[in-house]
């Protein structure tokens, strides 16, 4: 089986559209980065200044900053860092939980689970208070813009492109023998049927390669166009970076709270973890669609089934939100589609989208386990499938 994997990879790479899709995605990401709207001169100014003032906001920080040559940027930084406090000192996570419950009007047994979840957040907040994470200067008010761009927009786009690639290649991997009419030939022997395993590994390797290359190139381009230097080492929980929650139906009001992860993290750590979890999500998407391809035996039919499942799920979530069925809502949040939709909240307390700490990571592992079970069942079906 392993011997033919390189041949299978070569067969897939014979499709020029794969390279075309990669180039198109990279081009879109580059345009996206070029139009990010980062105030680079201010970012550079803070980078240079923090070498003299230190990275934590304090009275000494303000004093040293005041002694720097007067400029508009210095004035802006002085204003933005004035009266900043360690917000995690005496921060009540119970009150935060209650605020969340009131904001989303959560009821039923989910309320208790939410309260327990926020109680578990207390030690994390104490740790953040001790580390004075909230007082890290980052890039002052520009921090929010850069953090949001990197994790909610740029990474979201890369992940989206990779998921589309995984979906299409997963389907193609298990159905492309039909194109050359060699499918019947393949299923006439046990060895032939086993080549589906090689096809799975080949398309999986290509999918991961696409994701890895896209991540490296896109973030490489970002770092070249907008060098943010030490910002990568800034805590995600600096008070210049907050988390927003939006009610299900009104887009006007939002709840703004500190960005609290289950473990204190820097931007770099957070992105490495996100990339890792994104990789698992892509593996799931690829594997699921490979199985769909095996069952439907047709690329486009498989694609339509995926579309129906995706759209049907979105419709279901909408109906459940409409009727405020919080128990079912909490259950649906374990689904991979929810994990993709709520990517910007990964590793945080996740508000109404999680009932236990680290839910997104646990849910991903469970989903992969279920996919494995599905894979075993499918292989049993495929081994004894009738030759048509």
């Amino acid at each position: 089986m392993l011997r033919i994997i390189p041949f299978e990879i070569r067969k897939l790479l014979e499709q020029p559209v794969i390279l075309l899709f990669f180039i198109a995605s990279l081009l879109l990401n580059t345009i996206f980065i070029a139009t990010a709207g980062v105030d680079q001169s201010y970012v550079n100014y803070i980078q240079q200044t923090e070498a003299k003032t230190g990275t934590l906001i304090s009275s000494e920080f303000q004093e040293t900053l005041s002694n720097q040559p007067a400029s508009k940027k210095q004035q802006r930084l002085l204003t933005e860092t004035a009266d900043q406090e360690n917000i995690f000192q005496d921060y009540s996570t119970e009150a935060l939980g209650q605020e969340m419950i009131d904001f989303f009007q959560i009821d039923g047994s989910v309320t208790e689970k939410m309260k327990k979840k926020y109680e578990k957040l207390t030690p994390v907040v104490h740790e953040l208070a001790e580390e004075q994470a909230a007082l890290e200067i980052g890039r002052a008010e520009e921090t929010m813009n850069i953090f949001t761009f990197i994790k909610d927009r740029l990474f979201h786009v890369v992940l989206g492109e990779s998921l589309i690639f995984a979906l299409l290649l997963g389907l193609y991997g298990s159905t492309f023998e039909r194109l050359t009419k060699t499918e019947v030939l393949m299923v006439t022997s046990k060895t032939g049927r086993n080549t589906q395993g090689s096809k799975y590994i080949a398309s999986f390797i290509l999918t991961l390669l696409f994701y890895g290359m896209m991540i490296m190139l896109t973030f490489g381009i970002f770092n070249y166009v907008h060098p943010i230097g030490t910002l990568w080492q800034t805590s995600m929980s600096t008070q210049f970076h907050t988390n927003f929650y939006f009610p299900h139906f009104l887009e006007t009001y939002s709840l703004e709270i500190p960005f609290i992860t289950w473990q204190p993290m820097t931007l770099l750590n957070y992105m490495v973890l996100s990339i890792g979890l994104g990789g698992l999500l892509i593996s799931f998407c690829h594997g699921f669609n490979f199985l769909v391809g095996l069952w439907t035996e047709h690329f486009f039919r498989g694609f339509i089934i995926f579309v129906v499942l995706y759209v049907g799920f979105l419709g279901l979530v909408h109906i459940i939100n409409q009727f405020s069925w919080w128990n079912i809502h909490a259950l649906l949040m374990w689904h991979p589609i929810s994990l993709w939709n709520k990517q910007s909240y990964w590793f945080t307390e996740m508000g109404p989208y999680a009932v236990i700490p680290w839910q997104e990571s646990i849910a991903m592992v469970i989903n992969l386990f279920l996919l494995g079970v599905g894979g075993i069942l499918t292989s049993k079906f495929y081994a004894t499938k009738e030759v048509k």
């Binding site: 499709q15 879109l28 887009e251």
Partner: protein, 408 residues
């Protein structure tokens, strides 16, 4: 041959999937304008617009402005009286509404309760307690009403002389001349229209969502049929004769007509649905109004709001038709479904991006494309250009295929 090719495009399963997508999309996105707008701070603004529309008609004349002014001062007197009688206000030595506003601005930071000191929390509670007392006979907040009226009154004052309005922002000289005609000419003082202009943004946002739905539906319904023909080897049979090669033109015509029907149905259904909303009352009002959130939310054109909606709908259809031309081209250059979808998906996203720039605030000065090019009617020109390019591609392709070797 046309009926045969057209019939191929009608696939019951795909139509059912398209229907499911349309239903989910409409309850999730397209119903926003009807169910959830106006919301937040727009509620009192919209209420004032509706009230004035009922009382004064489509425009606001001088005597009506005077009436509004009197109402505003009356409201302020009412608030002054309530403040002077309020126990907490007395304790804080606040004598009238103006002093309350200054106190509120200085002391209430608007931060999060969880991060406030006890003292800050107490100030918030005091402010809330005073505001709760400032309620009119119908139970509505006087503070909100004063805030909205203040802004509208300020906006009306901005429009009272062209010099004041144009001094505020960096309009170009050409824009000043054209806007003077639409906003300040005696016969057509466009600024006097009663129209909450945020409604224009929301409407264009609605049409942009319709366009997104169109892209999804067209991508699903149109191109896969032509790829299937190639996969089952039908194209080779068709191409083996000169007459058979003309099938490309028939397929092109059937694809475009099917797209046109889908686009028309979707745009007419979801655009026409606006006619049955409460917003219909503004359809015969002008496009410009003193109800502006930002100075650039003005238009050169003396259309009624209804005429503008029709034009935005046509623009949406134009971009939709351009996309269907590209779809046909992509379907003819794809050997199989992977190739098709890997081309259609990025192109679809690019079209969504372009449509956003064209449609949001279309025919207003704050339209992104207009701000970039400063060419009036650029939305229409860009739409036509897009259509010409997108239709030319499949036409050139069809012409070139006439003499192509079957083995290539």
């Amino acid at each position: 041959m046309f009926p045969v090719e057209f019939k191929k495009l009608i696939q019951p399963i795909l139509l059912l999937v398209a229907l499911l997508i349309t239903i989910v999309f409409s309850i999730q996105d397209l119903s926003f304008i009807d169910k959830h707008w106006p919301n937040g701070r727009m509620v009192p603004i919209y209420d004032y617009a509706s009230d004035w529309q009922n009382r004064f008609g489509q425009t606001l004349e001088e005597e009506e402005i005077a009436e509004i002014e009197a109402e505003y001062f009356n409201l302020l007197d009412q608030a002054d009286k309530m403040i002077s009688e309020n126990a907490i206000a007395k304790q804080l030595q606040i004598a009238n509404y103006e002093e309350f506003e200054s106190w509120h601005e200085e002391n209430v930071s608007g931060g999060r309760i969880n991060e406030m000191s006890d003292e800050e929390e107490e100030i918030i509670e005091q402010g809330d307690a005073i505001e709760q007392d400032l309620i009119d006979d119908s139970g509505d907040s006087i503070v909100d009403q004063i805030y909205v009226l203040q802004n509208l009154y300020h906006s009306i004052k901005q429009f009272e002389s062209p010099d004041t309005f144009f001094n505020n922002e960096g309009f170009t000289e050409k824009e000043r001349v054209r806007l003077s005609e639409t906003l300040f000419l005696k016969d057509s003082e466009g600024w006097r229209n009663i129209l909450p202009t945020e409604l224009s943004t929301i409407f264009t946002d609605h049409f942009e969502k319709i366009h997104r739905l169109l892209i999804i539906l067209l991508s699903l319904l149109i191109p896969s049929v032509f790829v299937r023909d190639r996969l089952v080897g039908l194209q080779n049979i068709q191409w083996s004769s000169r007459r058979g090669r003309n099938i490309l033109w028939t397929q092109f015509a059937s694809g475009m007509i099917a797209s046109f029907l889908v686009i028309t149905c979707v745009v007419v259904f979801f655009g026409g649905f606006l006619y049955f909303t409460d917003f219909k009352q503004y359809f015969s009002n002008g496009l410009n109004s003193f109800f502006i959130e930002e100075p650039l939310q003005v238009s050169f054109y003396q259309w009624t709001f209804g005429q503008w909606i029709v034009r935005v709908g046509l623009l949406t259809s134009l971009i939709g038709m351009a996309y269907s031309g590209i779809l046909f081209f992509l379907s003819q250059t794809s050997k199989h479904y992977l190739s098709l979808l890997m081309k259609v998906i990025p192109v679809g996203f690019v079209f969504m991006f372009i449509a956003g720039r064209l449609l949001i605030n279309a025919f207003y000065l704050n339209n992104a494309l207009y701000q970039w090019t400063k060419i009036p009617m650029i939305e229409l020109y860009a739409g036509i250009l897009l259509l010409v390019i997108s239709i030319s591609l499949p036409i050139i392709f069809c012409i070139r295929q006439q003499d192509k070797d079957l083995l290539d």
